[in-house]
Symmetry: C2
């Protein structure tokens, strides 16, 4: 009963999930690459043994991706592997943490080695990009495909970006276009199966803002990643920081492809409520804006100021026409708006 998948589990792990370990080092030895990554003992024992960097905080997060709940089961295995790790790396990005190690728990309805090979390619492709080492895994046989990843990163003491640091008067900003992933999901369900389609790609292969988070963590007052949708995640930031917010609809960055696909109104709705964007939502003091923008532009990204943190609780929104939208009070101007950042 306990070993539904164990006959092949060790071999599957050895074959697909020890790709960064030289074959000669797959028993008790640690490869030079692992040692540089702080891996004292990797896969194959009861636990991985890791060497945390002295004086830094360990950042840990877990996320489950379920087939046909968090991703379409018929997406490519590469995309599924990429996406499962990306949504976890985004949690490290949201704290400004440096990726270190992750463990993978995989539940498979069947052992399809072609699929596993593709999945591992997607996973390792992103893992190498962000220098995070797979140090442990568990494979079980179950009715539905489920991927649970626990990521570990580290961050300087007092260097972490948190949800409780936003202060009235701070600017609210995001690191990239919103709504595209939601547009991609809709396109997928409408039959668009080209994974290189810009919106589909935004949904299936999000690029977690890891380098951005690490580079600006000391310059912002608070933040998180946008996974549930801008309004929902802004709500989390406001609740934890005991503040409110005023959003400027016209300043929310939208991809041209999204506007072309959905029209302006639905594109804005996707940006507000769609989710799965994995951009960072940041609060920062106005005098930090230029410096943060410079850092992000040096990384090939951008800073889009979309509103202000207010002392009064609740989220209000203004459009260029003065109309409000769902969940929002219509008003003409954000309170305490002295013209900083993006005018609508």
């Amino acid at each position: 009963m306990s070993d539904a998948a164990t006959p092949g589990e060790f071999e599957l792990i050895r074959r697909y999930f020890m790709q960064d370990v030289e074959p000669a080092c797959r028993s008790d030895q640690v490869s030079p690459q692992q040692a540089r990554a702080g891996v004292v003992l990797g896969q194959g024992d009861d636990c991985a043994l890791l060497a945390p960097s002295p004086g830094r905080r360990l950042a840990v997060s877990v996320d489950t991706s379920l087939a046909d709940v968090h991703f379409p089961r018929d997406a490519s295995a590469e995309a599924i592997g990429h996406r499962a790790l990306a949504v976890n790396l985004s949690d490290l990005a949201a704290m400004g943490a440096r990726p270190r190690w992750f463990v993978l728990a995989l539940t498979l309805p069947e052992v399809d080695e072609h699929w596993l090979d593709g999945f591992a390619q997607g996973l390792y492709g992103l893992a190498r990009e962000h220098n995070i080492a797979l140090v442990g895994g568990d494979i079980t046989r179950g009715r539905e495909l489920s991927i649970t990843i626990t990521v570990h990163g580290d961050v300087a003491q007092d260097g972490a970006i948190t949800r409780h640091g936003a202060r009235p008067g701070d600017l609210l900003a995001v690191t990239g276009a919103l709504g595209s992933a939601h547009g991609g999901l809709r396109a997928w369900f409408a039959g668009q199966r080209d994974e290189q389609h810009p919106l589909v790609r935004a949904y299936l292969r999000p690029a977690p803002r890891v380098n951005e988070g690490m580079s600006i963590c000391h310059m912002v007052s608070g933040g998180l990643d946008i996974s549930d949708g801008l309004l929902a995640d802004l709500g989390h930031l406001c609740a934890r920081s005991a503040v409110g917010a005023c959003l400027k609809a016209g300043a929310i960055p939208l991809d041209q492809a999204l506007v072309a696909s959905l029209g302006a109104d639905e594109a804005l709705e996707a940006a507000l409520n769609g989710g799965d964007d994995y951009e960072l939502l940041l609060s920062l003091a106005p005098d930090q804006e230029a410096a943060v923008r410079q850092v992000l532009e040096d990384l090939g990204g951008a800073l889009h100021v979309i509103g202000l943190v207010t002392a009064e609780p609740g989220i209000t929104g203004i459009t260029s026409t003065g109309r409000g939208w769902q969940h929002f009070h219509a008003q003409d101007q954000c309170p305490d708006d002295h013209g900083a950042g993006a005018a609508p």
Copy 2:
């Protein structure tokens, strides 16, 4: 699509999985108890922030427990919660690591708050016993009940018990009776639903040998926990240590209730191949036997020497009658057996 369970997720976590956090500390504050446990920032942000102990290694392991694969779906919620954490704590025990933190990913077919309450009681009951803090979680809605836990412990540099340390001439020993869990599983399927029945209890509520592992980690040469069954796990130890083993059947500790339930032959078979015991299998130099035994007895446990590590690969077994058994070569005496430990 990404938020199948999110409407209630935050509230469920707050209600059931923040039990060690005072209500006043459930936003950005860390309770004194959390601070003592090295928790800098607990649940509610994108990551938990943790303070590893300087100079110690971090031990990390992940295990998934699936309904009707790893536990019977109709067991009590308390037992399911206990067992899911126990099998993970056992991996820390197997390394000699001190439990620190864990994260929980829970996939639920339905939100049954009565069940969640019981599950959390079982989980927290064992967590408090072993002083491990729940620092993060993810709840999703899926077709089958699945519990994935990632545990974190720490251990002194060079203090970890590993699978590659067994040396020829070492004694092989276990920390308690084997086969009982398998007997309990069989009793369960035969209709025995009393969770206090000694065999059923051994299966549903294993007691991970955490204190034992921590106390003897510097005194043994190698080891692991017995989850797949004595022969399978001994095989892992031998493979990683590049050694063989000779087992003495008569020395393998069996619970009286197991022998009474299955008879002597099937009880031995359950001990060899049944799995789910979560006792430790240890290798130790003969001159350490008395000291290890004393430590384990001081903890209320015992040391049962069941064989010897051999230079020759392969596992051989002897019975008191000289008969071999499946997977074993029959022989009269372990090689290099100078009478140390348990004679058959």
